[in-house]
Subunit: 312 residues, 4 copies
């Protein structure tokens, strides 16, 4: 149905850049988009959890989606439409598709518990946005507290033809990828694209397990693109070497809460966004934490020149 | 600052009436409003959790608020502005106040755990909507999974002059009312209005503990008004007699999930809304459950003629 | 396999009586047991959550089980063996069965989420205690935070021949009883006994839905016995009249946390246990709460002479 | 009061070795203990969560504690006494201390939410085990779902003289260490030892923030000892180099659930325990996962010869 179903490579999770006074920074969206395209990103996902989507009102959400869609041209943009109810989800989904989005991403509300509740939720959501809108399941139990077994994901895929992709960020999650690909092989589930999140913490093995790439916001998406490419080219040791060099910083960025501050700080240090400002409720880096990030960047720069940034 | 701080009596939690096709039913809003005013309601609260607020998009939320505010005239309307982020909360709060709302109600996100997080959240929210917008704390741990001690509520009240009221629906909650009123007596907390929710399940004792009234959606708000009035008039046994007669039905309506279906069904049976339709995700009454409600109404009618409804 | 599978009537959840200094009060266990037998209880369940089971060490748990089993003679005693692991569960189960228990009750750990986890847990538990030990599923989401759908309960029943009973205390739960009985009728689930808990808050309708009786600890188990008997005798209005008279107190006792203090207080007031002492962490009744309970007892006594207690 | 208050270095979290048939393997306990002592461990902690403590019955728990205490001689052994209630906690604590344990460790039940509940729980626990039994707070929100702010930890330390140590495994947690050490500097909290867990995922920076060492179960505790020593000797780059070499495997072992299988597998591969068997509920390594672990070990062996294990 949708090209997303066959997507491979990296869809960075884009942060929403704000200026110091809290307004949306359209110039930084443009700069970020150019950068993502220049490194070979296969697409981009906007208005995700770490894109501070819940901190925007309806008009702002649409403005951010529009800016990315315009900048990306024919390269697909996925818009996060997670909402407390289906009316707001539907409104944003339809508006985004009208602007040219390739699909939408839906995370489950953290009150869902049983398999029936989860399956029912996605059926309701798919109906609310319309059967012609391709959607991505976001499976992130650490943040959303909803546990989807492989069997539940299969049920969602089989029951909803418009489900085209899984943003996989369960933890642990390697066996889940293997289980889903086994479902495809035994014919019990049709093929969908699986892109991995969770900061990329297991990307080195996720590709080997059958994932199609990454969808996460690590501040060096160029590394993510390289690792996915190296894995596809069967350069296993080179992929792991590069990944391992980034792992100390990646792990540091993957801390809940403060991680977004690390991410925006590094993106600003790289010149990709003008300010690391967040909207409230915001996390912040203490001076000690900043020093730790600089230390990690300096150590990383010994292996990857892209981390050699101008001193502060 | 605001008259709400001294509010007494009953603010029904208004359901949002939908027509069978899911559109907002403005005529029923008008009928409901007339009814609430006719029974002596001190105000009304709209767009609460059981008002299906999360199922409306931004424009619809405003339309519902407007309809109630127009119908209520000078009688205060409180608008629920709970949202996943402060931008959407601020937008709805400012628009509602511009329409003539008396204040707004804010429930905490269910991810808050520590006292510091809860206090910090309300400080951020108060700043987001502006210091001149009176707000109500909604303390409903059963639904929101956030536990506020009396000390945390005091901190919110003392730190935020625009906090004017507590929608009290902790369970158990009687000692919490006593603790808060003791804080007022010992001078450590300024006075706020306390209106009780949780379906009214303990309203008989809550007034005696120091609550100012009720803010809940039981399908016989006229009973709530009577009980609060009888308690104020020191007619204790009469208050309990009336309350006890309603308790079997009230308890039945207070079931999580299915409760809203009971409530809308009874309101429709009473001719106060045209349809019991809910938007998805919706709960529904099975035929057996409908029979049980009819049975409870018939038993109640022996004590309270308002429950003697025309047979289905 | 076990007579429990056909059990009907009331199994009170017995409190564990302590003396003021915290020791187990065997004399009160004897008195309670005599009382339960005198009112026609079909059995008893000991070492439940509200029996303060987690506050006993291994030797004490066994002592309590032994005392009840001796007092009950041939009338069945079910022993709660919920434990953080299977070794402790197995030890207590085997020791209890050796003493003459009729079966054991197992609540799920509150970390279980998916259907697979829940089913797997009961399979492991059944294996740990041995296939010849009849067990009861305790389904109490409000306390244990585990949500079991009817389909999951059916799976447990079908996979584990030693599963003989459901302690049903989901809330809302009426449709669950109907669904399970429908499974029996359509042949997809074998028959088990369903006894209802949750303080008895919906006992009036639960029997009508197909439950076999009650398993809960309300301080007037004689009322529970009467209601179940009246329902069985098709005296519907009499059953509801009696139930409704108790509902104000029953609801008061059903408050989480403080409820056990109410229950032990009333049992002491009735002369059934010597002291209302709890072990830490304990809940307590404030003087105001005691007055409220006395008020409720006095009102109840107008309908049920058993509530006419000697003044304090 | 207790030497634990000044403890520095590494207390490995010991796994409980089982033989293939599920019995406790005392010979492996002996071998593990010798190894821990040989690498310079400052002590050991037994019967922790990853020591499968909840899977032992009371007699087995004591047998494990005894075996480690005998093997460790004068080197301190801390015994996990976390239990669903205080009676079982007290029994195990007193028995362990009588055997020669240096102290006990207590994790909070996952139902605690407010600051008051957490503070009250530890006060009750300290009273239950007796004021002369030194205890360690386990602060592991990811597993126990209890969030303790620095202020709450301070309150526990100040209110309970027998609190001597924090097992720090909040995530993120670096600022928490800094905050607690700042409390010591400003005089508002007395000194306690802080040993870091969470698999060691941030050990590289935790020592720099003021932690005294590590208390975790990573399968190369010798690396943990080296990193703590290098940090103490101000060999910062050497510490980070060694840590970073282990990070890919450490991260792999730190996966919830399956992590224990990785840990026991590597310990078995290193010849430190005879079998990687777990008791139910158990996690297991798939053949693919085993291959991944071998791959990680082989890569690690290029930097640390201790990872050069005999091929399977």
């Amino acid at each position: 149905m949708s090209a997303l179903q066959q997507a491979q490579g990296v869809f960075p999770i884009a942060p929403t850049p704000f200026s110091e006074d809290g307004r949306i920074d359209l110039a930084s969206i443009h700069r970020l988009s150019e950068f993502y395209l220049s490194i070979g990103a296969a697409g981009v996902t906007v208005l995700g959890q770490l894109g501070e989507a819940p901190k925007l009102d309806a008009a702002e959400s649409l403005a951010v989606a529009r800016a990315f869609i315009q900048a990306f041209g024919r390269t697909p943009v996925i818009v996060g439409v997670t909402a407390p109810g289906f009316a707001a989800m539907r409104t944003l989904a339809l508006e985004s598709m009208a602007l040219g989005a390739a699909g939408v991403m839906i995370a489950p509300p953290n009150t869902l518990r049983t398999d029936e509740q989860i399956g029912g939720y996605y059926a309701n959501a798919a109906q609310a946005i319309g059967a012609d809108v391709p959607f991505v399941i976001q499976d992130y139990p650490l943040t959303f507290s909803v546990q989807m077994t492989p069997a539940v994901i299969r049920r969602i895929v089989q029951d909803n033809p418009s489900c085209v992709m899984l943003k996989h960020e369960d933890w642990p999650g390697l066996e889940k990828i293997s289980a889903l690909r086994a479902f495809e092989r035994d014919g019990s589930m049709r093929h969908i694209s699986i892109l991995c999140g969770n900061g990329g913490l297991f990307l080195d093995f996720e590709c080997e397990r059958g994932a199609d790439g990454a969808m996460t916001g690590y501040a060096f998406p160029d590394m993510l693109c390289d690792v996915v490419r190296l894995q596809r080219e069967q350069q296993r040791d080179a992929a792991h070497d590069l990944f391992d060099a980034h792992l100390p910083l990646l792990r540091y960025e993957q801390q809940p809460g403060v991680g977004l501050a690390v991410r925006k700080h590094v993106l600003q240090r790289r010149g990709l966004i003008a300010s690391s400002a967040q909207r409230a409720p915001r996390s912040a880096l203490t001076p000690t934490a900043r020093t730790e990030v600089e230390f990690l960047l300096a150590r990383l720069a010994r292996h990857d020149a892209r981390a050699a940034l101008k001193p502060l």
